[in-house]
């Protein structure tokens, strides 16, 4: 015969009380109980993504940012941030501030909440994002860090109850760490250490402080991604494609060079994408959606985006892309693979090819007056 789960009603009541406390904590824990948001970021190491850099840029560094590239790994592995900063400085005749704030795991929820933290602390003139497309079932594992119910629940209004329940659970998972941060503060990971940190050594990239948050990986193509880290040796390669900055298309007004599909985004993605657009508007921050080409679309003669974007961005937003067939014009499949570390992420070769082509268009958008 099975043993009863509880030896007495008193024990069952204690269990019920414990369960009730765990379930209610996110709803009850307000500002007095939660540690400062900076502590949530400080709890993350380089092994969780470049969060020590993100924390530093949001909570320690001060001053305005001219251009911020913000988002998950694809944008972090796409743009040579120091190059853009140097070009913008030259154009402005003063030291410009260009930063990349990136992390692992796509999704507009992470983008919205982390950008909210950024814009609460620093003014950003031009915010560059990309279409945080993702496997529908994949969610960002760091949700318990950037989502805290009492502070963030208002942003969920309008989401189906099931989605709201998911974020409530996210907040429950984050509570032990939040309470621990309250008991003893986290010491943030060192930005610069004698040895390269986990991120720099794993992705064979320059120090984050030197690359201003971007990753230019000296890794060859990994055919086993995302299941295996099976990178081939990195071979420096500067492609000659005939692609020019003039091949970059900016929407609006240009519609040629783009193809907008009706492929839907999941409801939670469109919800947070719209929240992000509203957030940027509230902070007078211009928004640019940068198309980052993947290996799968290398032969495409047009830049493919969803028709959600022109409608959601409205008159203020800009979509920027270079048709992949022009970006990779004349290259063999083998040569194109030399520009990627896997099917979705550019390596150092790809970053150095892509960045100079899109930079003039970005600077043009930076200079142009906002449309309303």
């Amino acid at each position: 015969m099975m043993q009863p789960a509880f030896s007495s009603t008193r024990q069952a009541a204690a269990f019920a009380f414990l369960l009730l406390a765990v379930l209610l904590l996110p709803a009850l824990a307000g500002k007095k109980i939660l540690p400062p948001r900076e502590q949530a970021y400080a709890a993350l190491s380089w092994g969780s993504g470049p969060f020590p850099w993100v924390r530093h840029e949001i909570f320690e560094e001060t001053g305005d940012i001219d251009i911020a590239f913000v988002g998950s790994s694809h944008i972090m592995h796409a743009v040579d941030t120091p190059y853009v900063q140097a070009q913008l400085s030259k154009r402005l005749g003063r030291p410009a501030v260009v930063r990349t704030l990136g992390w692992g795991g796509a999704g507009f929820d992470a983008l919205y909440f982390i950008t909210q933290d950024l814009l609460q602390h620093r003014r950003v003139r031009l915010l560059v994002i990309y279409n945080e497309n993702n496997n529908v079932r994949m969610r960002n594992a760091q949700g318990p860090v950037w989502f805290r119910w009492r502070e963030d629940a208002a942003a969920l209004a309008g989401l189906p109850w099931r989605e709201q329940g998911l974020y409530y659970f996210t907040a429950i998972v984050g509570m032990p760490r939040n309470l621990l941060c309250r008991l003893r503060p986290n010491i943030p990971a060192e930005l610069v250490a004698a040895k390269p940190n986990y991120w720099e050594s794993h992705y064979r990239t320059a120090r984050m402080v030197d690359s201003l948050g971007a990753s230019s990986s000296e890794l060859g193509f990994n055919p086993g991604a995302p299941l295996y880290d099976d990178y081939t040796p990195f071979v420096p390669f500067a492609p000659h494609t005939g692609a020019r900055p003039a091949d970059v298309c900016i929407y609006p007004p240009a519609t040629n060079g783009f193809e907008f599909s009706s492929q839907p985004l999941p409801a939670w993605q469109t919800h947070f994408a719209r929240q992000l657009i509203a957030l940027a508007r509230e902070h007078n921050c211009r928004l640019v959606l940068l198309h980052i080409p993947t290996l799968d679309e290398a032969q495409s003669a047009v830049t493919e985006e969803r028709n959600f974007w022109p409608e959601a961005l409205g008159a203020e937003g800009v979509i920027l892309g270079i048709p992949p067939a022009k970006l990779f014009g004349g290259l063999t499949d083998e040569e194109i693979r030399k520009l990627y570390l896997n099917t979705g992420h550019l390596n150092k070769n790809g970053v150095e090819h892509f960045t100079p082509l899109i930079t003039p268009a970005l600077l043009q958008i930076y200079d142009s007056p906002a449309r309303h």
Binding site: F15, L19, L23, N197
Partner: protein
């Protein structure tokens, strides 16, 4: 005075209801959120 059996029953009903709520939250949430190696890793 509430009879003891009624209290016992109420406590066990509460345990079941709260357990079901917790289970429902786990079921609607993705596995990534429960992977301690991902969430609490420290390199």
């Amino acid at each position: 005075m509430i009879p003891r059996p009624a209290i016992d029953k109420a406590v066990y009903v509460l345990v079941i209801v709260l357990s079901l709520i917790a289970l429902a939250l786990v079921l609607i949430s993705p596995a990534e959120l429960l992977d301690n190696k991902v969430i609490y890793q420290g390199f």
